[in-house]
């Protein structure tokens, strides 16, 4: 059972931030400068991701937050300005 997560971070050091972003790119999409959407995370993947981020960040200055979104939350998503509505497709094409 996969879940949709919104991951936001606040990281002061450039190098650390780059590394965390690089990890997150493997799990989802960058929708804002410090916000990622990971549309299909299983429990296991989430724990792996949290652990990997945990090892990278500086615990005195940085935070990374994971918000789980259920189907109903995703349906009631609203936005102003740029951007697309979050998708949970099981396929992609370019």
């Amino acid at each position: 059972m996969s879940m949709f997560y919104v991951v936001c971070f606040d990281i002061s050091d450039d190098r650390t931030r780059y590394r965390v972003a690089k990890v997150l790119k493997g799990y989802g999409y960058r929708v804002q400068k410090s916000v990622f959407e990971c549309p299909r995370l299983t429990e296991k993947k989430l724990l792996t991701l949290m652990d990997r981020v945990d090892r990278l960040i500086d615990h005195t200055t940085d935070t990374v937050r994971f918000y789980r979104q259920c189907e109903a939350c995703l349906k009631s998503f609203e936005h102003v300005g740029l951007g697309l509505t979050p998708e949970r497709q099981s396929y992609g094409a370019v």
Binding site: G26, P39, G92, A93
Partner: protein, 348 residues
């Protein structure tokens, strides 16, 4: 993201951390997170060595297709499990009586499905020609049912396919499309291109399903062994062609989703024609990338269509049915079912 299609010829894949970048020249046109990726379909695009390493490491099934949807190759990590299952398959297929029995079931189902489809459309469009072909195909299906000779079974299958594609043009209700029989390798007109493409995708679905249950996709019965041809997948795809392939293509054409303007004709690089005119006739057709994306969208939605399984009564999707049928085929091979029952489209 479980499946990802790269539909733009001339792009290449690059590894970037834990995702893949789809590049055209120096510009990234797409990004695919590797986490959770199961299948990658590349149409006329290439990939770097690092990407190959990564795909193999993560066991992503990668399929390479030519720009007109012809199968070129695949990158698979072979699973050495289920020796008993493969053994059962080799034994069944090397026994001529069993081999004919399986081929017969498959061809019979294909003919009946095709006939049912034509007679339905005949009613809708009020065309006698379709009804006549449907009746002929039903006759062939009855002949196949008692046929003991493998070559005859193959011949009847070919005859049925020929009859079917002779009237296929009457199923096309949109202006501007011409269809004068099935052409493959390469397809010569937009309809043939769409058919080839969807058959390739379906064969892929079947191949994946066959691999999931642990059988060897390369040994079949109806399709002879041929280097690099997944014969078993080709055999088991027969029962899906009409109802999952042709119906999708015809729906897109008749609902004007695709128009003749969505295709480009390209000169073939390998010139093997007799003269100029012959070369022109052999020019392969390509979908423009925009319509290729729309086609893949439609295909994915289509494969997710819900349907009630007539065997189990449970709800499933078209993709689920293909997986279930592969499991049924396995049960038959392992002697847990008396015969293989292809999907009964003619009863729906």
């Amino acid at each position: 993201m479980e499946r990802y299609y790269v539909l733009e010829p001339g792009t290449y894949l690059r590894k970037d951390g834990e995702s893949l970048l789809v590049m055209r020249g120096n510009e990234a046109v797409g990004r695919v997170p590797l986490e959770g990726l199961e299948q990658l379909v590349l149409v006329g695009s290439s990939l770097s060595g690092a990407v190959v390493q990564e795909l193999v490491r993560r066991r992503v099934e990668t399929v390479l297709l030519s720009p007109w949807g012809q199968f070129r190759g695949r990158l698979v990590v072979d699973e050495h499990k289920h020796v008993a299952r493969r053994k059962a398959q080799y034994l069944a297929f090397s026994d001529p009586r069993q081999a004919v029995h399986i081929a017969r079931r498959i061809v019979q189902a294909k003919l009946k499905s095709g006939a049912r489809f034509l007679s339905r459309r005949a009613g809708e469009y009020g065309l006698m020609a379709l009804r006549k072909t449907a009746a002929q195909m039903m006759g062939l299906a009855r002949m196949v049912a008692v046929e003991e000779n493998m070559e005859m079974v193959r011949g009847l299958e070919g005859r049925g396919a020929h009859l079917y594609f002779e009237v296929f043009k009457d199923l096309v209700r949109a202006p501007g499309f011409h269809f004068s029989g099935r052409t493959k390798r390469p397809p010569r007109d937009p309809i043939n291109a769409l058919l080839s493409f969807v058959y390739t995708l379906l064969t892929n679905e079947v191949l994946t399903a066959v691999k999931i249950v642990g059988l060897d996709p390369y040994l079949g019965t109806l399709h002879t062994e041929e280097y690099g041809r997944p014969s078993l997948a080709c055999d088991l795809v027969e029962e899906w062609r009409t109802h999952l392939g042709d119906r999708l293509v015809l729906g897109l054409i008749n609902r004007r989703v695709v128009t003749p303007e969505d295709f480009v004709e390209r000169a073939v690089t390998a010139a093997d024609g007799v003269d100029e005119e012959d070369l022109r006739a052999h020019r392969p057709v390509e979908m423009k990338p925009k319509i290729a994306r729309a086609f893949v969208d439609a295909y994915e939605r289509w494969m997710g269509t819900s349907i009630q399984c007539p065997f189990a009564g449970t709800m499933s999707t078209y993709r689920g049915l293909i997986r279930d049928q592969a499991r049924r085929f396995l049960r038959f091979l392992m002697g847990e079912a008396p015969t293989y029952e292809p999907f009964p489209w003619w009863t729906l």
